[in-house]
Symmetry: C2
Subunit: 192 residues, 2 copies
Amino acid sequence: MFDTFRKYLEDKIALTDQDFELIESVSSFKKLRKRQYLLQEGDVCRFNAFVCRGFLRYYYVDHKGQEHIMQFAPENYWTGDRESMDSGLPSKYNVDAIEDSEILLLKKEDFELICNTVPAFNDFVNKTLKKNVLVLHERIHASLSLSAEEKYSNFISKYPSISNRVPLHMIASYLGISPETLSRVRSQSTKK
Amino acid sequence: MFDTFRKYLEDKIALTDQDFELIESVSSFKKLRKRQYLLQEGDVCRFNAFVCRGFLRYYYVDHKGQEHIMQFAPENYWTGDRESMDSGLPSKYNVDAIEDSEILLLKKEDFELICNTVPAFNDFVNKTLKKNVLVLHERIHASLSLSAEEKYSNFISKYPSISNRVPLHMIASYLGISPETLSRVRSQSTKK
DNA sequence: GATTGCTCTTGACAAATGTCAAGGGCTTTT
DNA sequence: AAAAGCCCTTGACATTTGTCAAGAGCAATC
């Protein structure tokens, strides 16, 4: 399972075998069945999670009981609640598996240890953070100016591999529209 | 004008006089009149901007000609289009002054120079980036699950100093609702 | 092969929000 | 003091989207 992560890192940055040994020595692994939680609302998030195989979602449940998906995390994506991890406070979010998955976990302290000992890794983390900001900007952009239909077509063109893999109602939840509206939007656009 | 920036930094990190000299030596300054652009759609963004005094907004104009505000930047905030700066491509965004303002500018290369020579500054930038991610998460959270009324009350409780300072139609634009809806929402909530 | 559960669709209706148009109250400019 | 320009509000109406309820199609499970 560590192999996937190693390949991912090798693709991005140049690390020595020693670096990899360090990283592997503090990595732990977890297999998740479909529908199994990695993090549950109320828990404190203590790990950075890297998806080696499978598919996770990061979501919350609002005061009306509705689920809202903040992030999809397929293979080679990071997930977890950084806010809870930094603050030590219980998370308002849930992370669970949409498919059977294999996850690599790095404890907060170990993650920081790696950042502090391996400069290239630290730079990489910050670069990833920057990219993340862009993705979030795009999402706010979409939520401010697109109609339901535009949100959907924007999503499938941007994330075709995700839209093929998750049920439609989850896409609706990610986009902030109801499953019924999504269904209608789809049937209208196929007519054209 | 550099004083404001110096105080801001001293409050956050410990820097030597030498560090400050370096930073000051590559800083430039700009005064903006109300309504003046700092960055205009189509320009390439070449600077990180720090607001010493005044108030800027970071926004775009959609295909229907409607403005959507991505960020408010009062004193002690950073602004600019990082995407355009990193890519070297023309910006899709505008930055202009809501009030007469004084801005400190750091060219991309100088900013990177400081990051590379002053580790504490670099760490601080990355910490700021992390906080920024949280703010963006909150905003997506709000856009996914709140009604117009809730968005507004959430905004004024989170950013009272901003809501006192900008016209209501800009708050509406930031929240992704029409000025009319905001007006109605406000009149309803004062009745209660 | 029946049952269960999940997913998606559809219809009828309700609610929220947007659009257009008008006007009033300010402030700034002339 | 008049004029112009913003900003905000309000009304009437249109449009978008949500809600509720029902059912059909599939796949997984027993």
